[in-house]
Amino acid sequence: MAARSDTAAAVKDIEAYKYGFVTDIESDRAPKGLNEDIVRFISAKKNEPAWLLEWRLKAFRYWLTLADLEPAWAKLHYPKIDYQDAYYYAAPKQKAALKSMDEVDPQLVETYKKLGIPLLEQQIMSGVAVDAVFDSVSVATTYKKKLNELGVIFCPISEAVQKHPELVQKYLGSVVPVADNFFATLNSAVFTDGSFVYIPKGLRCPMELSTYFRINEKNTGQFERTLIIADEGSYVSYLEGCTAPQRDENQLHAAVVELVALDDAEIKYSTVQNWFPGDKDGKGGIYNFVTKRGACRGKNSKIMWTQVETGSAITWKYPSCILQGDNSVGEFYSVAITNNRQQADTGTKMIHIGRNTRSKIISKGISAGKSSNTYRGLVRVQGKADGARNYTQCDSLLIGSACAAHTVPYIENRNPTAQTEHEATTSKISEDQLFYCLQRGMTEEEAVSLIVNGFCKEVLQTLPMEFAVEAQKLVGISLEGSVG
Amino acid sequence: MIEIKNLHVSVQGKEILKGISLSINAGEVHAIMGPNGTGKSTLSNVIAGREGYEITQGSVTFAGQDLLAMEPDARARAGVFLAFQYPVEIPGVSTSAFLKTAINAKRRAEGLKEIDAMEFLKLVKAKTKALGIADDMIKRPLNVGFSGGEKKRAEVLQMTLLEPKFAVLDETDSGLDIDALKVVSDGVNALRGPERAFLVITHYQRLLNYIVPDHVHVMTGGRIVASGGRELALELEANGYAKYMAAA
């Protein structure tokens, strides 16, 4: 019941995009455009070792050969992106290295407060360690000390490159290779920052690790690179939240997230994405082209992706699991909400390689306004994956007669002892349910929000508590103006 | 007829049956009663030979044979019948083709010649009538679209046609209205005789008003915690399982 009144209140409270404000901090940025010099500039700025510069250059040179091969198979329509008309590096200017949280620019901290991430209060209250990415550079990492004592490494990836080069070199690009796809290749060349996590053997990380991404600079593409390694027998839950200020132009975001789970390890990765979706007429908004992939490399390992995608003008995102280890498990829970002129093409890939590997896909798509929402998924069972199991359920809900919902699953089975099961439905919001709620005195918007939250429940309940409440509110906010 | 000795059974490493011993002689009807989740259905599945159950200790002997060493179909041909709690629906396989195949499998095992189509129809017709089963049911795909009551009647029909030596009725009364319960019970009672034994598994004593047992056992927590005559069932109806739950 609390969730319902929360949602209803949130719907009333917020009329426009809540996170549309710009923080005015002098920024240090590279000249517009993309060439080898920019790649070298970024690498030099970060004081990177030679191997990483070479790695970036290799990616960049390969990317140049892909010029005409930007993926076109998704059900997305957007004007051709001019990759030369963007800034590839923007870092808030700082005088010296920070020694503690207190030294963080108060204006930045204020920004996070507006976003509802009380960086400072958090230390006391929620037990969430936050690695905040402000445009491209991680500005502060909380809880460092406690995590340090446990042997957990949780820091900006640029710092990990300096302090733990052996881990970065071993795993960077091992799940999403440089040549994986157009956007991942671009990211490999120009990534500026992101989070690095290493959980040592046997440790159950006692707190949720969290990153908030936020795009602030005008015309800056944001290219984070996140790498999470869960060593044997360890467990970690990682939260990622994203917001971006309101702008007229479209901003490009092309992140890469790589997860590696070794024997008996488990990684839970949750995302709530509410980048600026553009205005009612489709002006502005983030172009979100993200490659997220996890490798269940060890036996009995598990990777669970949960995503609540409510923002961005364009979402192109397929968090996937490579199930290599015997008995490994991959799960994907997704809520994707599109309204106005938003377009989302999102889903997952489950690649069964090891024996007795299991995967589960639960996808809930909600389309409203003039938006388009596509589930695209691949379940592949290779010949040696004896006893593999997949279960997929994709449900789409349409609100209003001007939106679209598509379901495009690919199922490839090469093993007779494997079982795959896929079910999908598309329908509109139930008149009976709506009427029932209205009869109990709810407004139509409240009723829709409530029903849609119910429709998404199976996914939302996989989120950590703090996130689940925020996600429920977002469901209501995202559908504003979709009824009546 | 059937001798269960110190039977321990685990499912995925969890012990469900913790030492069941039970001896049923020809001509007897035994009832096992107990609350949900105490292993009653595990016992019936182990007797019939379903996969996925690990027998860690004990034995089950049927007519002098080691039942646990036999495949499910061999057990059935030897005379063991399980009336399923939830009979599966099999689209595309007609009830009549299924029944004929099953009857002939048994006849072959007994060295009899296979039944021909005419004899088969005559035989089935007589039995369906007695059980109040509509004629067209045997033309329909096996159990597909059958109501709960129809499924249970179909199970009893199969039992009547296969004439087993030992039948396990797993919650055959669940989901039946009073009329159907009576029909099903009449079918079972008609088969009772000195050569045949029954194990009736049920949650409620109601069924035992119609199929009157010789012995009643109470099962909780994977063990038989009390045994007695019919009066035990009546006592359970009056007082519930609470007392026995504590014992387990």
Binding site: S396, S401, T407, R414, T426 | A48, L162
Partner: protein, 443 residues
């Protein structure tokens, strides 16, 4: 820009030069269709694995086979209908050999209100009556195999049923036969039912063992208001043969299309069924079974395009795969913006009978209207263990139980065939396949 992933195609000059005079050449509109189709083929070639609609069934490898047009193969002589083609009571037989109507093997059809003619003859006479049909429903531009057919169609059937025609049963038997050289033929069939007409069309595609042949039939079906067509197709081609069949159906208001497709053999087979729901109240059932062994490749592709309100489509396809075979199911349901109250359902299930086969499925929902009920399901796996246990618990041995269940898995779909004699004939084909499999295993 040169399309990537497309190889050369074998139907260029050498093939064209042997095709001889193709029917309709003197009519500008027919010739125009052919020119367009040839131009498309020459720029795009035959689709390979990078063309989305052919990712699982690329046909570009045909380029390696030097096909000649069937009409120029003078060493082919088919005197009888093969014995494995069932005789269906009440159905008139029409026999095509390598895509050409063979009057000697066909029954005489003299039924008022029904016209069955050869396309070649019709095109030699007046072409205006078939102009709305030919190329009107199956477009070369988006369908490369239709382009191939349009470029080289040499004959086929034109079947027309008049207003309120009360119904007849036609059994079209297509026999593929190659001589010393691999042959290709591209029959074009046109079927038109006037308002209220009813017709049952049975199609049996078989082949004689020998060299490779390719049959690439395109069937365009137009159903006027309240027309009802039942179409039962079985494909059991020779193991080396290629069979790519495209059917496009246009449904007017309250018309019904009830189709059943059985895929029981052929080297590489694709059965593509496309239905456009253009009138309210129209409905289609497209069901099918397939049973594959050896190295067979079978592709069942459907596209249901709901363009207007209140239309219904329903699909149930089941198949079993043995040996090293490969099964493909692609089912696309498109609901246009205006097509409110669409009810579209689809289920595909594939059962593995051995270690070795591959199954690929791509069911697809593309929905632009909100007040709809659409669902699809796809499952792959082995026989259900619970079913097996139930049968064994009744004394049936494992092998017999498996056979009964595999048969039942397919019979479940066969039960949807309304005409009893057709159902029995199709069931016999499936049972024959299962028996041959049992014999192979016993050997």
């Amino acid at each position: 820009m040169v399309a990537t992933g497309l190889l050369d195609h074998p139907f260029k000059e050498a093939y064209a030069s042997k095709a001889g005079a193709l029917p309709g050449a003197t009519h500008a509109w027919v010739d125009g269709l052919r020119q367009t189709a040839r131009a498309l083929l020459n720029t795009a070639g035959l689709p390979g694995p990078k063309t989305e609609a052919f990712i699982f069934t690329p046909v570009s490898d045909l380029a390696k086979i030097p096909f000649i047009p069937a009409a120029s193969a003078d060493d082919v002589d088919v005197r009888d209908v093969p014995l494995n083609v069932p005789r269906i009571a009440g159905a008139s037989r029409i026999v095509l050999v390598n895509g050409v109507l063979n009057a000697a093997l066909s029954d005489n059809i003299a039924v008022e209100g029904l016209r069955v003619e050869s396309l070649k003859q019709v095109l030699a006479r007046d072409t205006l009556s078939v102009k709305p049909l030919l190329g009107g429903l199956a477009a070369s531009a988006s369908l490369p195999l239709v382009a191939l057919n349009t470029a080289y169609m040499a004959d086929g059937l034109v079947i027309r049923a008049g207003k309120n025609f009360a119904g007849a049963m036609l059994h079209v038997i297509s026999i593929g036969a190659a001589g010393a050289e691999p042959v290709a033929f591209h029959p074009r069939n046109l079927v038109a039912l006037e308002p209220g007409a009813q017709l049952t069309l049975i199609e049996t595609h078989v082949g004689l063992p020998g060299q490779n042949y390719l049959t690439n039939p395109v069937t365009e079906i137009s159903l006027a208001e309240n027309a009802r067509l039942k179409r039962y197709v079985s494909v059991a081609e020779d193991d080396d043969a290629f069979h790519f069949a495209t059917t496009s159906v246009a449904l007017s208001a309250h018309s019904t299309f009830n189709a059943f497709h059985a895929g029981l053999g052929g080297g590489k087979v694709r059965q593509e069924v496309r239905a456009a729901f253009l009138g309210t109240g129209s409905s289609a059932i497209v069901n099918g079974v397939y049973a594959l062994s050896g190295k067979q490749h079978h592709d069942f592709t459907t596209a249901m395009d709901h363009a207007v309100p209140h239309t219904t489509s329903s699909q149930l396809v089941k198949g079993v795969v043995d040996g090293q075979s490969r099964a493909v199911f692609q089912g696309r349901v498109l609901v246009d913006r205006d097509a409110q109250k669409t009810d579209a359902r689809q289920l595909h299930k594939a059962m593995f009978l051995a270690k070795g086969p591959a199954v690929d499925c791509k069911p697809e929902l593309e929905i632009f209207a909100d007040d709809v009920q659409c669902a699809h399901g796809a499952a792959t796996g082995e026989l259900d263990e619970n079913h097996l246990f139930y049968l064994m618990a009744r004394g049936i041995d494992r092998d017999t139980a498996r056979a009964l269940l595999v048969s039942g898995f397919l019979e479940d779909v066969l039960e949807s065939i309304g005409d009893e004699q057709v159902r029995e004939a199709f069931s016999a084909l499936v049972q024959g396949w299962l028996k041959r499999r049992a014999m192979r295993r016993a050997a």
